[in-house]
């Protein structure tokens, strides 16, 4: 369980996050949506403790996140950001192994290497293991990064839930890999001790994969609930300034959003 109470984060005098409270439960996939500048990434930074809020608290289980040491926090919380730049050319296997850094001292144990092999298989990057990261394509890089991030929290901890945060993870992936990726996230999120919170831009992917949606607008939660409750015409007009039409795919029964106009005055 992840609880945020009354979070406020300011840049200068402007509140990027303005009194946000939310609870995120294990075993479900929570997706955050909102226009550019709405405060999605800032909220993720506060939830992951990459930034400290000016007001309010973030609780992991029932422990305030500020009470963890850097390392013990990193053993239960992993973050994937949209574009990771690697400064030096490093083999893929070494990069994935970095995900285990919070778990071992000077050298990795057998368990750490085993986990690396498992996540690389899970993300289908095993045959790139010895290649240099710099030679990969954008999509391959993103898969390797996700393997690294999941290596960090791959196995249950016993005494604590695991927390996975995704900040626009789909940016460099083509449509097939986007769906593939989201399916893997959903598989991972279905474990009963895993809390997943992600930011995505694609409304249709959100409709298809979210167990729960949070719509952020001007640093506030505009709507919070099932996709059907959140993605109403009214909400989307407020949050994005667009008018959507919800269509049903006759083949699968899945809902799809089509955006009618830019300014929402139809």
């Amino acid at each position: 369980m992840l609880t945020a109470t009354d979070l406020v984060f300011r840049a200068g005098s402007r509140a990027l996050i303005d009194h946000v409270s939310a609870r995120f439960e294990p075993g479900r996939l929570h997706l955050i949506m909102g226009a550019n500048g709405a405060g999605k990434s800032t909220l993720i930074k506060l939830l992951t403790r990459l930034e400290r809020p000016h007001q309010g608290h973030v609780l992991y289980d029932d422990a305030d996140v500020t009470r963890f040491s850097e390392r013990s926090l990193a053993q239960r919380r992993a973050v994937l950001s949209q574009a990771v730049e690697v400064a030096f050319s490093i083999p893929v296997r070494e990069l994935v192994l970095m995900g285990r850094y919070p778990h071992f001292g000077a050298r990795p144990g057998a368990g750490d290497l085993e986990i690396c092999d498992e996540v690389m298989r899970f993300f289908d990057v095993t045959d790139m293991a010895d290649r240099s990261y710099g030679t990969l394509s954008g999509g391959e890089k993103q898969r390797v990064q996700f393997a690294r991030v999941l290596a960090q929290i791959w196995r249950p901890l016993g005494d604590s839930a695991r927390y996975l945060f995704l900040d626009e993870p789909l940016t460099f992936l083509d449509i097939r890999h986007q769906i593939d990726f989201m399916e893997k996230v959903r598989t991972f999120a279905s474990q009963t001790d895993v809390v997943v919170v992600g930011v995505v831009h694609d409304l249709n992917l959100a409709v298809r994969f979210a167990d729960r949606l949070l719509l952020i607008h001007h640093g506030n939660i505009l709507a919070d609930g099932s996709t059907a409750d959140v993605l109403t015409t009214e909400n989307l007009r407020t949050a994005f300034g667009v008018s959507p039409v919800l269509l049903t795919n006759p083949a699968t029964g899945n809902a799809h959003l089509v955006v009618e106009s830019r300014n929402g005055d139809t």
């Binding site: 013990s72 990193a74 950001s81 050319s89 490093i90 050298r107 290497l113 690294r148």
Partner: protein, 343 residues
């Protein structure tokens, strides 16, 4: 793991090369010593004989401390370069970048011009002390100026650019001092700016040795965290690294090693830049290997440079900074052109 064994073999190889280079280096110079002379000198010293012949005294009081100081300074510069490149996530960074060596050079220039006016006389310690103080103060100045209340992800870039600006300022200060200085002092300033090991004695070996050991020990402890920094500050934080503390520790180690080394030898360029590059091409960017490797390779390369500096114009001596630059620049440029490395 397999690559770990390979790392150990490489380190052993680098160590052997370093020892071999040193063995050659202490033989040649203004005077040549045979293996027999050297053994006699060492034996004489160890058995506590006070009345060594002149050539053996030269060997024990000039040649040997110089060779050891050379190894230590080379190690400091190599490790400093590795640390700075890892911290700034940039392979084109030198240990002097945060203002340390230009500040040290300015301190030394001040000493050459105004040292005679000093009331306190610390003898041979005055110059190193002036240089070391200059190095530490200028580094502090860079940090004070680069520090803003809003420490975002640009903080390292700001530090880098502030370092460039402060370096330029101190270099022009040195230029001014050598312009107003009288001839012998101006020559001393220039000579010091090109680096020289000719002032080596056992005192300098002890001081630089202490800085090397302490700095190297802390650097090895930081190696894994520096690896995590390769993927970015936020990502390293997410992996459990306290990035603010890491920066502070690494920069302190760098200032300690570079300021102390520069204080005794003057400004020696390119070693800190080239050594990590060569090792990264050989073995990749793992800092756990690079830090120890760059200590060994830095020591070896500076020994070779000192040997060249001492023998090329024998019995006169070239400033070592000229040798490292003349050898270092082509090596560096060819490394830059080598394929795949920067991709």
């Amino acid at each position: 793991m397999n690559s770990r064994r390979a790392d150990c073999l490489w380190l052993a190889l680098l160590f052997l090369v370093m020892i071999a280079t040193t063995a050659v280096s202490i033989r040649f110079g203004a005077m040549e010593f045979s293996a027999h002379d050297m053994a006699a000198a060492v034996w004489g010293k160890l058995s506590g004989r006070g009345d060594l012949p002149l050539d053996q005294r030269i060997f024990m009081q000039l040649r040997v401390p110089r060779a050891i100081l050379c190894l230590l300074v080379g190690a400091c510069l190599g490790v400093g370069g590795t640390l700075m490149q890892a911290l700034f996530r940039n392979p084109i960074v030198e240990p002097g970048l945060v203002g340390t060596s230009s500040g040290a050079a300015f301190g030394a220039a001040l000493f050459y011009v105004f040292g005679a006016l000093l009331k306190v006389n610390l003898g041979g310690w005055t110059l190193p002390l002036a240089a070391c103080t200059g190095g530490v103060l200028s580094t502090y100045l860079v940090f004070a100026l680069a520090h803003t209340r809003n420490q975002g992800r640009s903080s390292i870039l700001r530090l880098l650019l502030t370092g460039l600006a402060i370096n330029a300022l101190f270099m022009s200060g040195i230029g001014f001092l050598s312009y107003v200085a009288r001839d012998p002092q101006a020559r001393s300033i220039i000579y010091w700016n090109l680096g020289t090991l000719s002032g080596a004695d056992w005192n300098s070996v002890v001081v630089v040795g202490a800085a090397t050991v302490v700095g190297l020990a802390f650097a090895v402890v930081c190696a894994k965290s520096l690896n995590a920094l390769m993927i970015g500050e936020d990502e390293a934080t997410a992996l459990g690294v306290n990035v603010a503390r890491l920066k502070w520790i690494v920069l302190t180690i760098n200032v300690l090693m570079v300021a102390v080394a520069t204080a005794f030898t003057g400004v020696i360029s390119f070693v800190g830049l080239v050594v990590p590059h060569i090792l990264r091409i050989l073995r990749g960017p793992d800092n756990r290997f690079l830090i120890l490797g760059s200590a060994l390779l830095g020591a070896t390369l500076l020994s070779v440079a000192d040997l060249i500096a001492r023998t090329l114009l024998r019995p006169a001596e070239l400033p070592i900074g000229i040798v490292t630059a003349v050898v270092g620049v082509p090596v560096f440029l060819s490394l830059l052109r080598s394929r795949e490395y920067l991709s």
